[in-house]
Symmetry: D2
Subunit: 283 residues, 4 copies
């Protein structure tokens, strides 16, 4: 049985040897270990993958020991993840189909180790894709007037389907603080610029107006401040004076889908940790 | 004899055939032609390289004809450049030496077709490099009090040396509107971020704080608004959570020198045109 | 009415002005022109987009004039393309679905200006995707024994559907010289390496063994020599010692689909010309 | 006092906890640890940086213990490096100056933590640069006839100056097996292509002929087989049909100097390990 353990805590001497010694003495074999120290913040981060000879019943015992013997004294925040249950990923979309198609074709190919209980949209335009891939589709209509009840409807759907995290695949609707609080660092958005440049609406238009020679895309965890959450992944491509705004949008689509899927895959693999509105991305 | 002709004017039907026909009937052979139409602005841009059988005395006649027969009726702004005289490039520096070393080693290798009449600095730190390469060095000291006279001194030096354009190779001093007016679209700066992200001071610190996964550099023509002039060239490199600010600075140095030298080479080759605070960069 | 004209011929003085003058005098307005001279080979290439006031009946007259008045004397190979009829693109696949999904989702989004009369495969594995997108699917089984008749079957299907060009979207079957001769520079393949490195089978395994730090993908026109045809587009991504062959394959999939779709789009837009086993790719 | 420890050995369970426990119990604080397991080869690699309260005299004791208590039983190859002595780096050049200028300007800026006892060349062309930077210059002339004695002269110079590693900064002369044996995995070369494409002479010419859309550079450790040693670092840049061979060479120069300096910096920082003709590059 294999488990991934994520740890962060105030940095101090001896953590690595203590944790690895603890794991070893509890019959775990470390097959991967990476660590990072944020020196200015004095925080220690570690990700380790451990193979246990034990079975799942023993794992509960291991977790109790880990909490009592290590976590309390080192003031750790930590989590342990096994592969026996696939995370459940909801996809929110609006009208653009490229990120949705990309995620679903990866899912279909077995590239994403998740279950997708449903696709949700504030429009009906992409219902046909959900049908192509035989995935349930919910249409939750938003108006200025119904915002609160519409969001309650969203949350009910999420809870009913026991969703672990949400991917905003070009979902063109502000997500409220209420929803974010329920899924902290569990809502992944794709923004179509290299943030912090061109946050907000119409970034390709703004990039065109500024005359940049490079455009980008950014996947990040959603926080209350728009387009200001912890960045997971970014990539860019070159443009020239000869490209129109429409060309920017077309070239950008390829960036968006790649950068979003990379962010989603890092999240699924438990390779992301968030601290001080930044991410640690393990290799 | 070879000449490069740059043209921009309001777009209309027939410009290309008229200009190419004119050149052909005046014994010029077009060896390169590239054009661009900014549709929203309705402006036509053209760069062409022409081989003339004629010698330089005839060229003056050609220019008179071009002005009278083409430029007036099409409302053209245009210029014609020959290779018989190297452009004279001044370099302004402060304390960082990497861009200066890079420019001078390219110059020494014959990669930059310019003359470098002098290096100017508001500090004496890099005088030794000027001496290594046997190039005159001027120290113009700036204080809050002497700003106006110091700038007058700068301008006197520039004019005395008949400078064609200025490269700010990490020159850490604001350039005044007065100087910019004398060298419009002829002052090239390197900014150590992918503009418009992180304009202003300490961009690497700001990038580190934001937790970006990509850092960049931008070469641009200097205008009165800080770091907001027409972009010539940009490039980026990836960073991770494990990089410190010092690592950003080190990685950034390589970007800065490459991006600045590319911008300088495009300028020297007359491949840049400026319009509406953006550049057209010909291939 | 808009037309794209592609020309190549031995280089000589005056071609551009002659061609542009001819177009202008025949009531065409040049809205785009790009040219290239291969100096070592002394060949001139030109791509121009022309807006005609005339309608299609006049176009035949224009083409006759172009042939008689220009093409013969300059020894031109040339072609003229209008947008009134979408090119017909056949897709050949085997068992990998990522390139197929990518092409079909772009097609569905309107990003590819083609008709897709059918998908053909030597296996039945991807039939379900053709059904998802409601596109006819042909299974042509290949064995060592039936190679000749199987290929005749392929050609019959291609001809019945009046196919203009073929995309090999990870089609794992050698294409014969017979088929290539019928579609010269009209069969686009994606190879999963940065050619000429790692031509042939299992390039990711070879790249892993060599310990490269960069892997790539290449789209190219198919010629009789395996993986040696004119390169249309290439791109790369970084890898490290920590990536397994499986990781190479996963990262490579994203490259393959991007590089193939770029190649296909350039071909559709008539931006490619082939000469001496190399391509000219217009902007 | 800080030390970097590099370890590789056959993989088995418990290595990390054993090594970290040993370090901790010997009053070392691990401030960095990265590990890699080559699964197909079943080899474990580790790089760790340790802060000791002890002083240097104790370090010898630590090393003895490490060897006796860990290295023998785990069958480790290992090394321990401190920063009290800068490595001594010889530079070999021929006629191209860009890599040499780049290395020396980095050295002058304090970016390379080395001593450079001398520059050696088979030509006199770049003597002036050694003089610009006040570094001793040796000219060792090679002919077909004097190859053996010339190499003896090289080795004598290397040994006299107690050189730790050698950088071939576009040194256009085959290095013999004799020299390689004396400096195993300690001679760094820059090759001007993305290996394994275009090994051998004139790679830019070969790349031009093949019509690639990407050119590259590779820094690698020198082994007896030409251009086939373990790759340290690679990078690429895009080219188009409009670039001449001369353009390839010019664009390539920038790649070469960046890729070489990155390789040199990784080597200096003890971030490289070699195994099975491949490298592990620690972060």
């Amino acid at each position: 049985m294999k488990a991934t353990i994520l740890v962060h805590c105030p940095d101090q001497a001896g953590i690595i040897s203590t944790v690895t010694g603890f794991i070893h003495s509890n019959k775990g074999n470390i097959v991967y270990l990476d660590q990072h120290v944020d020196k200015p913040a004095n925080v220690f981060f570690m990700r380790t993958v451990v193979e246990f000879q034990n079975d799942f019943s023993d794992l509960e015992h291991f977790k109790t020991l880990f909490q009592n013997e290590l976590a309390i004294s080192y003031n750790m925040e930590w989590s342990l993840h096994t592969d026996d249950k696939l995370p459940r990923m909801a996809i929110f979309v609006s009208k653009y189909n490229h990120c949705l198609y990309d995620l679903l074709s990866r899912y279909q190919s077995g590239e994403l180790a998740v279950e997708i209980p449903f696709i949700l949209s504030n429009h009906n335009d992409l219902r046909y894709i959900a049908e192509q891939f035989s995935i349930p589709f919910y249409h939750v209509h938003f108006t200025k007037a119904n915002r609160v009840t519409a969001e309650q409807e969203q949350i009910a759907i999420l809870e009913k389907h026991d969703v672990d995290f949400i991917v905003l695949a070009r979902y063109m609707q502000i997500v409220s603080g209420n929803l974010i609080d329920k899924y902290p660092n569990k809502i992944i958005n794709i923004h179509h610029s290299f943030l912090p440049a061109f946050a907000g609406a119409k970034p390709y238009h703004a990039a065109f107006k500024r005359g940049v020679k490079i455009i980008g895309a950014t996947s990040h965890y959603v926080t209350e401040e728009l387009d200001a959450g912890p960045i997971i992944e970014q990539d860019v491509t070159t443009v020239t004076h000869s490209h129109t705004i429409e060309d920017f949008i077309t070239k950008g689509r390829d960036l968006e889908k790649i950068v979003l899927s990379r962010g989603v895959k890092l999240h699924i693999a438990r390779k992301t940790m968030v601290y001080n509105n930044k991410t640690v991305i393990f290799s």
